[in-house]
């Protein structure tokens, strides 16, 4: 059936790892938005949750880097990082092997994919799941878009992946939810950590929420890198989600730059 839920949220490790160092009022409002997203996700009663993330060399390295990879493991575990550093306890999540396999097979009619039967979640997936599936009771299908080590997949291919994913989900009986998690502007793991280009973020979000494909695909990596940081290249996850929700607009539930979290913190949900 059609996707039952689609949204985006941030995943920076500081969101949980440095939570005590943020302004409590802004942090709590951000956490409340995650919780609102959790409630909406639960109300959609998903049989599986596809998480389109941008991992950070936890599983994939430059010896054999897939542009796009989908997990089809029986279960997943994370965080790969130190629990105290991330502020999240190690947790095991159920997978959805058969569903993954069949979705991958179908999506590959349109977009080439790699697959993985072993996958350790890093903060890129753990932070969203910490808030959205706190009981770790929803089968997860992780997707990774390489946003860290160029050459990177072109934006239009991310959008096409999202479209193909939605088409494949629509052809099945399961209730499938999908989230994208990434940037937007940020300079993580650099001396400029904490820098956020709010104007750039808001302009991007306006295009994303209106789901204007051509404007989203007009972004150029060189400009994004310069104006939104190397972390801005993670807009690929948002653009894939936009493809999955083609024809639908979204609603912004939270945006605020939180420098100690090193990202413009975002929660948005598409109106399917």
């Amino acid at each position: 059936m059609s996707l039952v839920f689609a949204g985006v949220c941030s995943h920076a490790p500081g969101i949980t790892g440095r939570k005590d160092r943020a302004d409590p009022a802004v942090r709590d409002a951000f956490y409340a938005a995650y919780d609102r997203m959790r409630q909406a996700l639960e109300a959609a009663r998903p049989d599986a949750l596809v998480v389109i993330g941008a991992e950070h060399f936890a599983n994939f390295f430059m010896n054999n880097m897939p542009a796009l990879c989908v997990g089809m493991a029986e279960h997943y575990e994370g965080p790969i990082e130190d629990e105290a550093w991330l502020g999240i306890k190690r947790t095991r999540f159920p997978g959805a092997t058969q569903l993954s396999m069949e979705l991958i097979q179908d999506v590959m009619n349109d977009v080439d994919l790699a697959y993985a039967q072993e996958w350790k979640f890093d903060h890129g997936i753990m932070v969203p799941l910490h808030f959205l599936t706190p009981r770790a009771d929803v089968p997860i299908i992780p997707v990774n878009i390489n946003c860290q080590g160029p050459p990177l997949i072109p934006l239009k291919r991310c959008y096409e992946f999202g479209r193909a994913l939605r088409r494949a989900c629509a052809a099945r009986p399961e209730r499938i939810a999908v989230i994208g998690t990434g940037g937007i502007s940020h300079w993580p793991a650099t001396p400029d950590s904490g820098k956020i280009n709010e104007a750039w973020d808001r302009a991007f979000l306006e295009k994303f929420l209106a789901n204007r494909r051509d404007e989203l695909l007009a972004y150029k990596d060189e400009e994004t890198w310069r104006e939104a940081g190397q972390g801005g290249l993670e807009i690929r996850t948002f653009i894939a989600l936009a493809g999955a929700a083609e024809g639908h607009t979204g609603e912004l539930w939270f945006y605020a730059p939180i420098p100690i979290f090193a990202v413009g913190c975002t929660v948005a949900v598409m109106k399917l």
Binding site: F61, I80, E81, A189, P191, S193, W225
Partner: protein, 101 residues
């Protein structure tokens, strides 16, 4: 190719408990398994987080090496700043900076 090996060591340290054990127990022997320049070996051993950053180690990999070596968040950020002051701008890769910074 050598910078690739520095990053490969860090990637494997994150994932492989066996490598982590060797890192703790026989650091020099472990490093000998990777083709590294003398500068890279020194930077890993010290550790000189600033120099590793300036060499072009991807920040997402370096962040975890800094944590492993006991750098608290502010100290880790400051080490990268100090690296830029001492060694100049990042030499290669995604973390090079626009001119003028």
């Amino acid at each position: 190719m050598s910078l690739y090996n520095v990053q490969k060591l860090m990637f494997q340290l994150n994932r492989d408990p066996g490598i982590r054990k060797r890192f703790d127990a026989e650091f020099d022997s472990l490093l000998a398994d990777y083709e590294l320049t003398e500068e890279e070996q020194i930077a890993l051993r010290d550790p000189d987080i600033g120099l590793l950053y300036v060499m072009g180690v991807n920040g997402q990999i370096l962040m975890h090496y800094a944590a492993l070596r006991g750098f608290e968040w502010n100290a880790y950020i400051e080490a990268m700043r100090e690296g830029e002051r001492k060694y100049g701008p990042v030499r290669t890769g995604l973390y090079t900076r626009a001119a003028g910074r």
